[in-house]
Symmetry: C2
Subunit: 238 residues, 2 copies
DNA sequence: CAGTTTCTGCGTACTACATACACAGTTCCT
DNA sequence: AGGAACTGTGTATGTAGTACGCAGAAACTG
């Protein structure tokens, strides 16, 4: 189920919810819950048991109401995931104070961003599950990164592209880490290595690379290689 | 959704299927179908209607059997998706003949890879849905990319990292294109721009970037910026 | 050739999930 | 006081994936 696209969503309602622009109800019984509470519980469940464990029924149980009561607060599950994905990006880093200019600043930003992804392994799937909806916290992160690049001579478009490029790299690395940490990944690796071995003549370059240790586990920083490459490339634009 | 992880899979069976290493049945009725046929039909459905449309029932209907008959050929849906994702990578490019060395060769490889992702928009979700399982065709692509980097002075590890980095970029760009092409994305963009406008003082750098046209649509090649940056960075390693 | 084994396709059934709908009770506004 | 707006709930629907067991078909065994 996975990587499902949403069918019918009301962008206006979804964004209003995400940005906290819904007007308070004036009559009726006091709401037992708040959107923030739901979001927090959703995050707690996802942190503990993964995104798949966050079902409407599970969440309802966690907050002590019936499943359908949740729909009084949230139009649908997609919106819940959006809220969760935005909420974990509270407290965007301020990097413009870091000495050394845009490069160490962007590096620090990247580390901070990557930390969030590592703290919440479900984030990647959550963001992959839906697109468009950027909340205020995610936007604040974007702002922080652009602030670092503002003093450089890059065009606005280049600045934007550079940040998106780095973000893509962070997500890629996160994905790789997830794969690696997954239960049973050793078994998969072993069996795949076996297959490569048995088909080595079909993949000469790969076989040589494997023999040379290209796939051997190291304790290098996973983010570093790509980040350095990208920042080198960005520097070359100036 | 989603982006679900699989619970229980038998790596040995899954990989054997993916690599075509299952032994033929010796008795019993002739099978009405083949795995290749299922894979092809799955791809056809996904191409036409998206990955979500590929359900076991839908596929069974398409090939003219009952749902449960499919399980005689495939352990589960994850394996089907694996097969589909590997099958679209038939005919890996040979780039070592391209003049100019590793750089134009890797660029050509990237374009070819990106083409596959664009021809099958569901590929990204399919690969995001499951990990570990690399099939022979995907491995052949990896081999082709490594072959381009083999003559350089890079270490095996660096070669590997560089290819993975580029692949991550290709996927990121694909993701962005998918978002952009999605129905209703204009509406989301418009509403988000509205929100930014109404909160411009909270995001000064972003507001300036937007004003300077950083988010304006261009007809630049989406892959180019990042690819150039990355290849520049890789060149700097030598 | 008869019996056994192995395999096929099928029907039924179970589970988990998101969510539509209508109802009863609660709070506020007029 | 009465109506409007809003809450939580119970019930129901549709769509998934897939477990299980059966009847018949093909091939191997003696």
């Amino acid at each position: 189920m996975p990587a499902n696209r949403d069918k019918k969503r009301d962008p206006h309602a979804s964004l209003a919810l995400l940005w906290g622009e819904r007007d308070q109800p004036r009559r009726g019984p006091k709401p037992k819950l708040t959107v923030a509470e739901l979001t927090g519980q959703g995050i707690a469940i996802a942190d503990a048991e993964g995104l798949d464990a966050v079902s409407m029924q599970r969440l309802a149980e966690a907050v002590g109401v019936t499943t359908m009561a949740l729909y009084r607060y949230i139009p649908g599950k997609s919106d819940l995931v959006d809220l969760m994905a935005d909420a974990v990006f509270v407290d965007p880093p301020t990097v413009t104070g870091i000495p050394g200019g845009w490069r160490p600043q962007l590096a620090a930003w990247s580390r901070a961003c990557w930390d969030r992804y590592r703290e919440h392994p479900w984030l990647l799937a959550a963001i992959g599950m839906r697109r468009q909806a950027m909340g205020p916290h995610q936007v604040a992160w974007l702002d922080a990164a652009l602030a670092a690049l503002a003093p450089t001579g890059l065009s606005a478009k280049q600045q934007h592209d550079a940040v998106i490029l780095i973000l893509g790299h962070i997500r890629s690395v996160t994905q790789q880490l997830l794969d690696h940490d997954e239960a049973g990944s050793q078994e998969w690796d072993r069996l795949t290595a076996d297959l490569l071995d048995r088909n080595s003549e079909r993949f000469p370059a790969l076989t040589r690379a494997v023999a040379a240790g290209a796939f051997a586990p190291t304790d290098d920083d996973p983010l570093d290689f790509g980040l350095t490459c990208i920042l080198d490339g960005v520097a070359a634009l100036m």
